[in-house]
């Protein structure tokens, strides 16, 4: 504050004055140093845990490092890994699976269900709303392994699975591998969606609660029904959180695989529910013959990272995120 005040008085000094110029320069250097000082920890973290691993990954993807030829690591093999990846017979299927998994979960759960939960829990008495949101947070608080084991108990084949024991009986149909065996995707998306929805729910709830009450009153007086209030007032006013969640969750779904690994391991059968990130993991760490193809796994990963980067830039452009960022009001810190 005092600095910016000094700066104000500075501008009153004739531009030709050398002492004033020098002090301005010194101040600018100091201000820049301060700025880097504040950004420093973040820069170090990004370098250490994103840029450096990214470069390592890229380097790795041009080698044939694997547990099978450990004697001769880091030998350069050019684009062999990449051509092997793109000519993989299951590559199209994995691509389709990934797109299906990411966008279905995103639209129906991470955005859709999250929005519905936020709208519902902000329209019921406060305490009930709080309680319901807490319940929806439980899956996120449960360790993944426990959470997935619970789902497996529900979805196991007849006569073990809880679902198969109860529901077909109700409907008079014969039991069977209704879920996990019969429709594994339903399971994969439910398990991920139930966890994923809570994040958007929290963000949307706080965004909805920050809409001034007067606006809703005005809309009601103007004649808007509940649906029109949601469509015309609430949704436009939480546009940024919606776009943020869409972007963020697309990227995190793209790289998430642990629930699928625990639940179906990409099966049943060949690559039925296998997604890209899972393939990368499997190639790198748990291949069929106990061979860890680290370099080949890295290739899958680096392509995935590239896709994610392209998507991220696309989202930022499409949703005009830079409109969100205002020019700083305080000048010349």
């Amino acid at each position: 504050m005092t600095q910016s005040l000094e700066k104000e008085t500075d501008t009153g000094v004739p531009a030709g004055d050398p002492t004033s110029q020098r002090s301005t320069l010194a101040r600018r250097v100091r201000a820049t140093a301060t700025a880097y000082g504040f950004m420093g920890p973040a820069i170090v973290l990004v370098l250490l845990f994103f840029i450096v691993p990214g470069i390592l990954l890229l380097v790795l993807s041009f080698t044939n490092l694997s547990s099978a030829n450990f004697s001769d690591p880091w030998s350069y093999i050019g684009f062999d890994n990449f051509s092997r990846l793109f000519s993989d017979p299951f590559f199209p299927k994995i691509l389709r699976n990934t797109a299906f998994y990411v966008f279905t979960t995103l639209i129906f759960f991470n955005l859709g269900l999250a929005l519905v939960l936020a709208l519902v829990t902000t329209n019921i008495p406060r305490r009930a709303g709080f309680f319901f949101r807490l319940v929806w947070l439980l899956p996120r608080l449960t360790p993944s392994v426990v959470y997935i084991m619970m789902w497996q108990r529900i979805g196991q084949a007849d006569p073990f699975g809880i679902y198969n024991q109860i529901v077909p009986g109700f409907l008079g149909a014969s039991g069977g591998n209704l879920f996990l065996g019969g429709s594994p995707w339903t399971f994969v998306i439910l398990t991920n969606g139930f966890v994923g929805a809570s994040f958007g729910m929290i963000i949307f709830t706080s965004a909805l609660e920050s809409i001034p009450k007067d606006l809703i009153t005005a809309a009601k007086v103007d004649g808007a029904s509940l649906w029109r209030i949601i469509r015309d007032i609430k949704l436009p006013l939480i546009k940024w959180p919606l776009l943020f969640i869409a972007t963020y969750q697309t990227l995190s779904l793209l790289t998430s695989f642990e629930y699928i690994l625990l639940l179906t391991e990409g099966g049943p059968g060949l690559f039925t529910t296998e997604v890209w990130a899972l393939t990368a993991y499997k190639r790198a760490f748990s291949s069929y013959f106990g061979n860890s193809q680290w370099a080949f796994g890295a290739t899958w990963a680096i392509v995935l990272v590239s896709v994610a980067l392209v998507l991220a830039v696309g989202y930022v452009k499409l949703f005009k995120f830079n409109e969100l960022i205002e020019e700083p009001r305080i000048e010349n810190l």
């Binding site: 001034p212 007067d214 007086v221 436009p236």
Partner: protein
């Protein structure tokens, strides 16, 4: 439209917002709800709007009970202190919103919005975003949005409180003129009594959820029925003194350590019947500096000027009389300074008297 509130109450487990409000608003009148912060003005207004569901009592429009009618079917327009404009819409989008909900023809909507906007003097701002408007312009948009659907009842919740003093004055006149021209029954919530006095046909004075008085502005000023109304209406506020009214062979006197006044019979008769102290009220504008030291008429009080606040045309002088401070309006040309000895002339025919226990007037209740 005639509006009747009958024993209208609202409470939230234990917290009372409005308590048995009963009043009638004649067709075409502008009624002000006046009272200090938290007295239940907004609560009552929102019940009339249909946003709050009454905990008791009824609201009738033209004799029809509307307690269960949704806000959108009440034929009301509303203007807020916060303007409550939709920030993601343009001026046109805001004003046209009520009509778009009614799914009117596009050309009709355009026509009506333009007409209202012209009336409000914002006809050339229709394409602007809300953030690009000044506060005064925003309030005009908000007024336009309330008027465009041609409501039967207009509700204002402190619409001018966020504007600067000068603009407030202009808008005050404008709203009053508009309301009169269109003849729309209106409820106008405010805590600014000047606003209430100048704009309203009738004023409902509220305190702690209770309707204290409901009358025309002059009556509230001249004949306040309760101590609260007397103290709340009028600016600067009325002075209060604890006195004893006695009757000595036909002469009524108001006495305390600081005062000894002769009161006219028609004012003092009821007060004399009260045993012990009563509260006397005197408006600052009904106290005058005595000219010179002798030859004046009427009873006087003597004291010392303790504070002097220049108000422009007049000075508001706080005069200490035996430890009691009385506010007095004094012409600026008198040049009163702190420490001056002053003689105050009292107009006994303007004196108000209240029972200190019931707080009801001993003149008008």
């Amino acid at each position: 439209m005639r509006v009747e509130l009958d024993n209208l109450s609202k409470s939230w487990d234990g917290v009372v917002g409005a308590d048995k409000i009963t009043l009638d608003i004649s067709d075409g009148d502008l009624v002000a709800f006046l009272g200090p912060s938290g007295c239940g003005k907004t609560t009552t207004l929102l019940m009339v709007a249909g946003i709050y569901k009454p905990s008791g009592g009824t609201i009738s429009f033209d004799g029809r009970v509307v307690n269960e009618v949704a806000p959108k079917d009440r034929g009301i327009g509303m203007v807020f202190q916060s303007y409550a404009l939709y920030p993601h819409m343009t001026v046109f989008g805001n004003i046209s919103y009520p009509l778009r909900i009614q799914k009117l023809d596009k050309a009709v909507i355009k026509d009506r919005v333009q007409k209202v906007a012209d009336m409000m003097g914002i006809g050339d701002l229709l394409d602007r975003k809300i953030a690009q408007l000044s506060g005064g312009q925003q309030q005009r948009v908000s007024l336009g949005r309330a008027l465009v659907k041609e409501p039967q009842l207009l509700l204002f919740d402190e619409p001018l409180s966020n504007l600067d003093a000068r603009l407030r004055l202009t808008m005050r006149g404008e709203i009053k003129r508009l309301q009169g021209d269109l003849g729309i029954t209106s409820i106008y919530v405010t805590h600014d009594q000047v606003e209430a006095m100048t704009m309203a046909d009738r004023i409902a004075v509220m305190s702690k959820g209770i309707l204290q008085a409901y009358d025309v502005p002059e009556a509230l000023y001249d004949r306040p029925k309760t101590l609260f109304v007397a103290g709340f209406v009028g600016n600067p506020p009325m002075n209060f003194l604890d006195i004893e009214v006695t009757r000595d062979n036909g002469e009524f006197r108001a006495k305390s350590e600081s005062i000894d006044l002769i009161l006219p019979q028609e004012r003092a008769e009821k007060a004399a019947a009260v045993k012990g102290k009563v509260t006397m009220g005197l408006r600052p504008e009904d106290l005058n500096l005595a000219e010179g030291t002798s030859g004046h008429s009427g009873p006087t009080l003597s004291g010392v000027a303790e504070t002097v606040e220049p108000l422009g045309r007049e000075d508001l002088v706080g005069v200490g009389i035996n430890g009691v401070e009385m506010r007095v309006l004094v012409d600026k040309t008198r040049g009163v300074r702190v420490g001056d000895n002053l003689d105050l002339q009292v107009d006994p025919s303007k004196i108000q008297l209240f029972d200190p226990v019931t707080e009801n007037s001993l003149l008008w209740a």
